[in-house]
């Protein structure tokens, strides 16, 4: 039994008075202790939805409509409020995208760290304070002690995200879900923060689900990879294997579009068309309008995941490009 097992998870939103529309359309995955998984896709593909669904944090009027999220055997979606709260921020932590709006502007860093500790353990204020300073040092924040009394707006973006990471590590969680942790930061700082996350996860044997739209980052940080498109997973497996040998046409397209792959002097490759919104999905495979390999079968029926790819005409070798 893996540490985290997700079976056919679906998230739905009401449309009109009687209808529902699925934003996440049946995602499954397995994650072992200490493993690092990358979840890649465009905006709107459902990646963040997946992250929030794991901790049952889907905001109303959305809801998890189907599926199970088993953490160490327990289905998180079945837990009572109190039980799930003891998992959130404790055994499973989250890192949000934009540190500017993640931290409460009217509370100090120290207050926001100490409250996390006190919510999950019986611990004195002083001890919580000490632990917090320790974690701040761990994420390389200078003058950690005095920062405890600072307010979020007094820190730069990079420092703020380090604080968020520190908060995530406070309770020595088993899993961290990082939702685009560097997207909102300066380009120059992105690499630093990503390196920090990687180092801390390795050193403390913490599993990681890294949600991003950046394939380049994923290659360096993760061991397993999942590609999402229009609310579904279209390819999943070992990161290096997928990157070296993509099977799904979409994955191949994404890899080709990477600036690093482009030859000097040629136009940057772009997958023609755009991802359809959840409200206007085509029949069959959602990728078929943009796929040069699409056939009648693709237009009519949704392909199931077979050997790590959901496609009727997967690419078979590394030389094949789309």
């Amino acid at each position: 039994m893996a540490m985290l097992e997700i079976d056919d998870l679906r998230v739905a939103f009401p449309r009109g008075k009687t209808d529902e529309i699925e934003a996440l359309r049946g995602v499954s995955l397995r994650l072992e202790k200490g493993e690092r998984l990358g979840v890649v896709g465009e905006s709107g593909a459902g990646k963040s939805m997946l992250a929030f669904a794991i901790l049952n944090l889907i905001a109303e009027p959305g809801r998890v409509s189907h599926g199970e999220v088993r953490f160490e055997g327990e289905n998180l979606l079945d837990l009572s409020d109190r039980q799930i709260r003891s998992i959130r921020g404790n055994r499973i932590s989250m890192i949000f995208q934009d540190p500017m709006v993640t931290l409460n502007p009217v509370l100090t860093i120290g207050q926001q760290m100490i409250e996390t500790l006190k919510a999950h353990r019986r611990i004195s204020r002083r001890e919580a304070h000490r632990l917090s300073v320790e974690k701040l040092k761990m994420v390389a924040i200078p003058s950690a002690e005095s920062r405890m009394d600072a307010y979020p707006h007094e820190l730069s973006g990079g420092l703020r995200q380090r604080v968020v990471i520190a908060i995530a590590l406070l309770t020595d969680p088993e899993l961290i879900i990082a939702d685009e942790p560097t997207t909102a930061l300066d380009v120059t700082i992105q690499a630093e923060i990503m390196a920090l996350i990687l180092k801390l996860c390795r050193e403390n044997d913490v599993a990681l689900i890294l949600i991003t739209h950046d394939l380049g980052v994923v290659a360096e940080v993760t061991q397993k990879l999942m590609i999402m498109y229009a609310g579904k997973c279209v390819e999943a497996g070992d990161t290096q294997t997928i990157i070296g040998n993509p099977k799904h046409p979409y994955t191949s397209g994404l890899l080709q579009a990477l600036p690093q792959k482009a030859e000097r002097g040629t136009k940057l490759y772009q997958i023609p068309g755009s991802m359809p919104p959840i409200t206007a999905l085509p029949n069959g495979c959602p990728y078929h309008p943009r796929c040069p390999r699409a056939t009648e079968e693709c237009r009519a029926f949704m392909p199931d995941m077979k050997q790590g790819v959901a496609c009727y005409h997967p690419l078979l070798s590394a030389e094949e490009t789309v």
Partner: protein, 328 residues
Amino acid sequence: MHILAFLIRRTLQAVIVMFVISIIGFSIQGNLGDPLRELVGQSVSEAERQALREQLGLNDPFFVQYFRFLGNAVQGDLGTSYFFKRPALDVIMDKFPATFELVLGAVFIFLSLSIPAGIYCAIHRDSWLTRIIMTGSIIGISVPVFLTAILLVWLFGVELGWLPAFGRGDTYELPWGWETGFLTLDGLSHLILPSVALSSIMLPLFIRLIRAEMMETMGTDYVRFARAKGLSTARVRYVHAFRNTLLPVVTVGGLMIGTLIAYTILTETVFQWPGMGFLFLEAVNRVDTPLIIAYIIVVGLIFVVVNTIVDFIYTLINPMVKLPGAKA
């Protein structure tokens, strides 16, 4: 240190404002009625009038008179009431406890009702209680301010006869001269209806405001993050969300001070409450000019002081407004 700078700056501003008010007040006073007429009556000869004018300094140039007025004012002498034949400031300050206790009672009721109601309506959006409160507040905003007071007087004072609707009742005089209604049962019962009336005038607005702000705060990312950290629902709502709700509410509160003073005058009129507002209206009826001017100056001062206090409170609760601390 920052607090000191803030206070000094605001005090300076306040002094300037008071200057302006006093000049306006003084120059108007010169044109309202003839002080001589009030003091001496008809049967005095013209020569004696002129002599009296000279003696009182009424023929001096404007600015000389003004500075004399200012000098007196700073020492607490704002002229003498025609009607009461006593220093205007004394007359006004006599009535200050009554108005103060009325406002205190109203603020107490108002705070203890509007905050819970606003928070409740934000959290439980579809409950029947929320619907009732919101409908009530729309009606409340539309009913002209003094009618709620009249309705209360009629319903509880006349028809049901449960509560007195007239005056202050028995008061108890504290050692330093403050007549309080809080220490006698009769005084307290007289305080109820007017306080409720005054607070009811501000309630609908603030309930809606608190509700709207709370709903917005509850949808922010930092509240979501707080939930993701596994914090209890109570802490998420009342510490994370509510603290942020307070900021715009305090700002709006600060803007309503002038309105509150006006509403106090209205409430005192309906309940014949012997406070400063009621005194002011009587002074207008009697054309008691010094008293009118003195009231305007006192109210101006109160306005400026309360505004400063509210601004100060705002800097206390909004960490982003302090002078910048150590930057990263």
